[in-house]
C-alpha cells in the first residue's frame, strides 16, 4: 500500500501508515493541497488549523517511529463540524454570535479524536446552530455540493459532507438533530451515521435541541464510518444522558458482509407522496440487492410517523429557545451596542438582534411560544406525546424486523436558493430522518445510486434499534459491497472533476 492518495479510504490510509509506506505529515499535506485547490469553489471549511494538524501529524509519526502502539485511525486526517468545541480553535456553530470565540476546553468527541491520534484539519461550515437542511443558514456563506456547485450540500452538516465528497478529508464529524448527518450524506453520495442517542457524548457539542442532538461519524465508506464510530463512542461521565454500556461492535459488523436471514422492514409511510421518482427507483433497486444477499423484505407501517415532523418542529425549537438563551454577550461571543449609555438588557437585545440569523430567530420565537404558559400543553406537551407514539411505532416494528429502511430524503440535492423563502418546503426534506431522532435510535445513510432524472446521488437510510448500531453497519456494509460490485466502481468516482478525478 505505498500508493495511498487523498482518494483512498481511511482504512487504506491507516494500513499504509501502519505499514510505514506513508506518513501522517505527508497525508496531511496532501489534504491541505486538495483543500487549497478546491476550497474556493466548495467552501466546506470555516477555519483551517494547518499548524495544529501538522503538529499532531508529526507527533503521531514520531510515536509510530518509536514503535508505540497507536489507535487504528492515528495519523488519519479529519474535518470537524464547527459545532464541537475545540480548545483554542475558533468555534462558531455557523453563527455570527460566536465570531472569534475560542473555547477553553475540548468536547469529549474532540478529546477522544486527539487521544486516538486523529489529525483535525479544521472546522466545517454548517447551518447556524445546526438549524437547516442546506447550510444556507450559515452566517459565513454557502457551501457548494461537489457534484454540482449550484446545488446545496445538505445541512446542517453540509461542510463535513462536502469535504468528504471533494476529497478534502477522508473522515468527518457531524451532528444530527433531525437528519443533519444523514441528509448531507445522501445528497453528496457519502456515508453518515447518527448513533443511538447517548452512544456518543454530547459534552462540548453546542446544543440545538438537547434531547435530539447526537454527534456521529461521516466518511466515504461504511467501514471508515464504523472505524470513526468506535473512536468517538462510549460512556462519558460528563454527559448524564450518555449510555453506560459497551459500544456496539460496529467495525466487525461492517466487515461481516453477510445478511442472510435478516428481516428488513420497509416503512410504508416513508415512501409515499413527495418522493422523487428517481429516488424511489434507486431505493427499490437497492432492496433487490438486499434480497439477493439473502435478506427478507417486509412492508411495515408506522402510522404515527406522519406526525413526526410537526412534533419535531415543536420540541426542537422549544429546547433551542432555552439552549440559545445563554448567548447574551455577557461572557463570550460578540457584544453590540455597549457604548456606555445602554443597559445590560438593551445590549443583550441588540446583540441577539445582530448575532442571530433569521432561521434561528424564527425557531427561538416558535419555541418560546410553544413553552408559554397556556400553550405548553397544546404544543410542547402534545409533541412529547407524539414522540412517545413514534417510539412505540418503532418498538412494534422492531419486534418483527431487525432493521427498517427508507430513502434518506424525498429528493436529491436542490438548487441553492430554491427553498430559502419557503421554510416548510425546507423542513419537509427531513421527513424521513426525523423519526429516528425522536425515538433516539440509530440511523445510517449510504449512497444507492444516481437519480436517472438529474444524475445526483440518492441516499438509502437504515434504522436500527437502540444500542444495536451494529445491525445498520452489517446491512450497510453488505449493501455497499453489492452495489459497488454491481456498478463496478464507487459512486463518488462518478462525481465531476472537482471531486477528484
Amino acid at each position: 500500500m505505498s500508493d495511498v492518495t487523498i482518494h483512498s479510504t481511511a482504512a487504506q490510509m491507516s494500513e499504509a501508515l501502519i505499514a510505514g509506506s506513508t506518513t501522517s505529515v505527508a497525508l496531511t499535506n496532501a489534504h491541505f493541497a486538495q483543500i487549497e485547490a478546491v476550497e474556493p469553489a466548495v467552501h466546506a471549511f470555516l477555519h483551517l488549523d494547518k499548524d495544529g494538524a501538522l503538529s499532531q501529524a508529526a507527533e503521531v509519526d514520531a510515536k509510530r517511529a518509536r514503535g508505540e502502539k497507536l489507535a487504528p485511525l492515528a495519523g488519519v486526517p479529519l474535518a470537524l463540524k464547527d459545532v464541537l468545541a475545540q480548545q483554542g480553535v475558533p468555534t462558531t456553530a455557523g453563527s455570527k454570535m460566536l465570531e472569534g470565540w475560542r473555547p477553553p476546553y475540548d468536547a469529549t468527541v474532540v478529546k477522544k479524536l486527539k487521544d486516538a491520534g486523529v489529525v483535525i484539519l479544521g472546522k466545517t461550515n454548517m447551518d447556524e446552530f445546526a438549524m437547516g437542511s442546506s447550510t444556507e443558514n450559515s452566517a459565513y456563506g454557502n457551501t457548494h455540493n461537489p457534484w454540482d456547485l449550484t446545488r446545496i450540500p445538505g445541512g446542517s452538516g453540509g461542510g463535513s459532507a462536502a469535504a468528504l465528497a471533494a476529497f478534502q478529508a477522508p473522515l468527518a464529524i457531524g451532528t444530527d438533530t433531525g437528519g443533519s448527518i444523514r441528509q448531507p450524506a445522501a445528497v453528496t453520495g457519502t456515508v453518515g451515521v447518527k448513533p443511538t442517542y447517548g452512544g456518543v457524548s454530547r459534552y462540548g457539542l453546542i446544543a440545538f435541541s438537547s434531547s435530539l442532538d447526537q454527534a456521529g461519524p461521516c466518511a466515504r465508506t461504511v467501514l471508515d464510518t464504523a472505524l470513526l464510530h468506535e473512536a468517538i463512542a462510549g460512556y462519558d461521565q460528563m454527559d448524564s444522558t450518555s449510555i453506560n454500556a459497551p459500544v456496539p461492535q460496529v467495525v466487525a459488523a461492517a466487515k461481516k458482509l453477510d445478511i442472510k436471514g435478516l428481516k428488513i422492514g420497509v416503512v410504508k409511510e416513508l415512501l409515499g407522496e413527495g418522493f422523487q421518482a428517481g429516488v424511489r427507483q434507486r431505493f427499490e433497486e437497492a432492496l433487490e440487492e438486499l434480497v439477493k444477499a439473502g435478506a427478507q423484505i417486509v412492508e411495515v407501517s408506522c402510522p404515527n410517523f406522519d406526525y413526526g415532523l410537526a412534533a419535531y418542529y415543536l420540541i426542537a425549537p422549544s429546547e433551542a429557545s432555552s439552549n440559545l438563551a445563554r448567548f447574551d454577550s455577557m461572557r463570550y461571543g460578540i457584544r453590540i451596542g455597549d457604548d456606555g449609555t445602554r443597559s445590560a438588557a438593551e445590549v443583550m437585545s441588540l446583540t441577539r438582534h445582530e448575532g442571530f440569523g433569521a432561521e434561528v430567530k424564527r425557531r427561538i420565537i416558535l419555541g418560546t411560544y410553544a413553552l408559554s404558559s397556556g400553550y405548553y400543553d397544546a404544543y410542547y406537551g402534545s409533541a412529547q406525546k407524539v414522540r412517545t407514539l413514534v417510539k412505540r411505532d418503532f418498538d412494534a416494528a422492531f419486534a418483527n424486523v431487525d432493521v427498517l429502511v427508507s430513502p434518506t430524503c424525498p429528493t436529491t440535492a436542490f438548487k441553492l436558493g430554491e427553498n430559502t423563502d419557503d421554510p416548510l418546503a425546507m423542513y419537509l426534506n427531513d421527513i424521513a430522518t426525523i423519526p429516528v431522532n425522536l425515538a433516539g435510535i440509530g440511523g445510517m445513510s449510504l449512497p444507492c445510486g444516481l437519480a436517472p432524472e438529474d444524475g445526483l446521488p440518492v441516499g438509502f437510510q437504515i434504522m436500527s434499534p437502540g444500542m444495536r448500531d451494529d445491525l445498520m453497519y452489517q446491512v450497510g456494509g453488505t449493501l455497499e459491497a453489492a452495489l459497488v460490485s454491481k456498478w463496478g466502481h464507487t459512486l463518488l468516482s462518478q462525481a465531476p472533476a472537482l471531486a477528484g478525478n
Partner: protein
C-alpha cells in the same frame, strides 16, 4: 389614627408562608466539580459548566441529592421515588445560562411538617408548620453595581459579575400556608426558622449562616379580617437575614398591610425588601402579572430516582432531633431554659457538651464558653470555636478545680491559648502563672507586708478584720497575683492571732 401591632392583630388574622433557601455545604457545586468555598477571589471557582459555556453539560452532585433527602426526612417528608429537574427560563446577567436548573412540579421531597414551641400568654404552646416541598436548585452569580448613589442597578456606572456562587447547590424549603397563629405569627415564624436552622445544622448539610447568605428567608404574609374564611392578598418579603429580622418583618408587614386595609386601599401582590435599619419593608417587583418562566423538564439531566434502600439507610442515620436533644441536655445539666437558649443561639451547645463530656462541671463549662471565650471571640470578630478547643477549656477548668489556677489566672491562661501561645500547660509555663501555694513563700510576703504597714497589722490584731484587706492586697501584689487570696487571708489572720 394608625393601628399599632396589637390593634392590627385584634382586627386582622395573619396568614404566613415561609420559603427558606439553604446553600448546601457540599465541597463541589450542584452540576460541576468547582469548589464552593465562601469568600474566594471573584470568578476563581468557575469552569465551562457553571459559566454556561456553549456545549457544556450539567451532571448532578450525588452529595447534594443525599443532603436534600436528609433534609426531607428530618422534616417528616415523603421522598419522591422519581423526581426531575426543570429549566426556569428568564434573562439576567448573573445567570450564566439564562435559565436556572431547578425542580418544578416534581420535587424530591413533599408533604412534611415541623413542630415548634413558643411562649404564649397561657404558657408554652406547640404549633405545627406543614411543609409543602423541599426541592433542589442552583444558585445564581452575584452582580456588583458600581457607581451611582444606591448601589442598585439603576444609576450605576457599570456592573461587575462574579460567578463563584453560580451553581452552588441550593435547597428551597417551602411551607404550606400557616394560619391560626393570631398575634403569635411573628414568634411562630421565628421559631420555625430557628428550629429549621437547628435541624439543618444537626444534619451537617449547610453552614446555615444567615448573615453570609447561606440561609435566606422569604416571608409571605397576608391579612384577612378576623373571622373571615378568605385569604387576603399576600406580599413576599425578601432579604430577611437574621432570626430577629424574621420576627420584625412579620410585625412590619402586619402593621403596614393593616393600615392600608384600614385606609380602604388594596394590598398589591409584590415582592418587598426588608430594611434592616427601620424594620420596615420597601416595595420591590410587582407579581400582579405572573412572570412566565416557561418551565420544561431539563433534557440534559436524567430523572433522580433514589433507591428505597438508600433512603432507608439515610433515615436510619438521622441524628437526634435538636428539640429532643435540648430537652435531654437541659435535664441532664439541670440548667434553666433561658441558659439553654443562650447556648443554642450562640451556637455553643456542641462545644459545651463536648467540654462537659471531658469531665468539666456543667455550670463552669457553660460560663467559660459563654463568658470569657465569647468575649475574646467578639473582640477578634471570629467564632469562639476557632480560638480554643473544648479539650483546652476542659483542661483549664480541671486546673481551677484542682486549685492549681485561680479564676483570674485561668483567664490569663485562656487569653494566652487564644493568642496562640500554645496549650494551657505551655501558657502556664511560659507566663509563670502557677498559684503560689507554698506556705513558706506566702509567709515571707505576709511578714513583709506587716513590716511595711505596722499600724494596719495592729488594727487587725485588735479585731478590725476588714482592715486585713490592705495587707492581703499587698501580698497579692508582691506575688504578682499568683497567690490564692483565700489562702493568704487564712495565713495572715492566723499569724495576727485572729485565725
Amino acid at each position: 389614627m394608625a393601628l399599632n401591632y396589637d390593634q392590627a392583630v385584634a382586627k386582622y388574622e395573619p396568614t404566613l408562608g415561609l420559603e427558606v433557601h439553604v446553600e448546601l455545604n457540599t465541597k463541589s457545586k450542584m452540576f460541576c466539580g468547582c469548589a464552593t468555598e465562601f469568600g474566594a477571589s471573584p470568578n476563581t471557582q468557575t469552569c465551562p459548566i457553571c459559566l454556561g459555556l456553549p456545549g457544556a453539560l450539567p451532571v448532578v452532585n450525588a452529595k447534594a441529592i443525599e443532603s436534600s433527602i436528609l433534609i426531607g426526612l428530618a422534616l417528616n417528608c415523603s421522598i419522591a421515588p422519581f423526581s426531575r429537574f426543570a429549566r426556569k427560563n428568564y434573562f439576567y446577567p448573573d445567570m450564566p445560562k439564562n435559565f436556572q436548573t431547578s425542580q418544578y412540579d416534581e420535587p424530591i421531597c413533599v408533604n412534611g411538617y415541623l413542630d415548634v414551641e413558643i411562649e404564649t400568654d397561657e404558657g408554652p404552646r406547640q404549633f405545627r408548620v406543614e411543609i409543602e416541598r423541599v426541592h433542589m436548585e442552583e444558585d445564581t452569580g452575584k452582580s456588583l453595581h458600581v457607581g451611582g448613589a444606591t448601589g442598585r442597578i439603576h444609576g450605576a456606572d457599570y456592573s461587575l459579575l462574579d460567578y463563584n456562587r453560580a451553581g452552588i447547590p441550593l435547597v428551597e424549603i417551602v411551607t404550606k400556608i400557616v394560619g391560626g397563629t393570631g398575634k403569635y405569627a411573628p414568634q411562630v415564624a421565628r421559631a420555625y426558622v430557628t428550629e429549621l436552622r437547628e435541624i439543618l445544622r444537626s444534619l451537617g448539610v449547610s453552614d446555615v449562616k444567615m448573615e453570609q447568605g447561606s440561609m435566606r428567608c422569604d416571608v409571605n404574609l397576608s391579612l384577612a379580617p378576623v373571622g373571615s374564611n378568605e385569604l387576603g392578598t399576600r406580599s413576599e418579603t425578601k432579604n430577611v437575614n437574621s432570626l430577629r429580622s424574621v420576627e420584625r418583618a412579620v410585625i412590619g408587614e402586619v402593621i403596614r398591610q393593616s393600615n392600608r386595609l384600614e385606609a380602604g386601599e388594596r394590598i398589591v401582590q409584590e415582592t418587598r425588601h426588608f430594611q434592616e435599619e427601620s424594620g420596615q419593608t420597601r416595595s420591590g417587583r410587582s407579581k400582579e402579572q405572573a412572570e412566565d418562566y416557561r418551565y420544561f423538564p431539563e433534557p440534559d439531566l436524567v430523572p433522580v430516582a433514589p433507591a428505597t434502600q438508600w433512603i432507608e439507610e439515610l433515615r436510619a442515620s438521622l441524628p437526634e432531633k435538636p428539640s429532643t436533644r435540648r430537652k435531654r441536655l437541659q435535664e441532664l445539666w439541670n440548667v434553666p431554659a433561658k441558659e439553654m437558649e443562650a447556648m443554642v443561639n450562640a451556637e455553643l451547645l456542641d462545644v459545651v457538651e463536648e467540654t462537659i463530656g471531658l469531665g468539666s462541671e456543667p455550670t463552669r463549662a457553660r460560663s467559660w464558653w459563654l463568658g470569657e471565650v465569647s468575649r475574646l471571640a467578639n473582640e477578634r470578630e471570629v467564632g469562639p470555636t476557632f480560638l480554643i478547643t473544648p479539650a483546652q477549656v476542659a483542661e483549664v477548668i480541671a486546673l481551677i478545680e484542682s486549685g492549681e489556677l485561680t479564676d483570674k489566672l485561668a483567664r490569663q491562661v485562656v487569653e494566652g491559648v487564644v493568642g496562640g501561645e500554645g496549650t494551657p500547660r505551655e501558657v502556664i509555663d511560659k507566663r509563670g502563672l502557677k498559684v503560689v501555694s507554698d506556705d513558706g513563700a506566702l509567709m515571707v510576703a505576709i511578714e513583709a507586708a506587716i513590716l511595711a504597714q505596722p499600724d494596719t497589722a495592729e488594727r487587725v490584731r485588735g479585731g478590725n478584720l476588714p482592715a486585713a484587706g490592705a495587707l492581703i492586697g499587698a501580698v497579692m501584689k508582691a506575688t504578682g497575683g499568683q497567690a490564692d487570696a483565700a489562702k493568704v487571708r487564712e495565713l495572715l489572720l492566723k499569724h495576727l492571732g485572729q485565725g
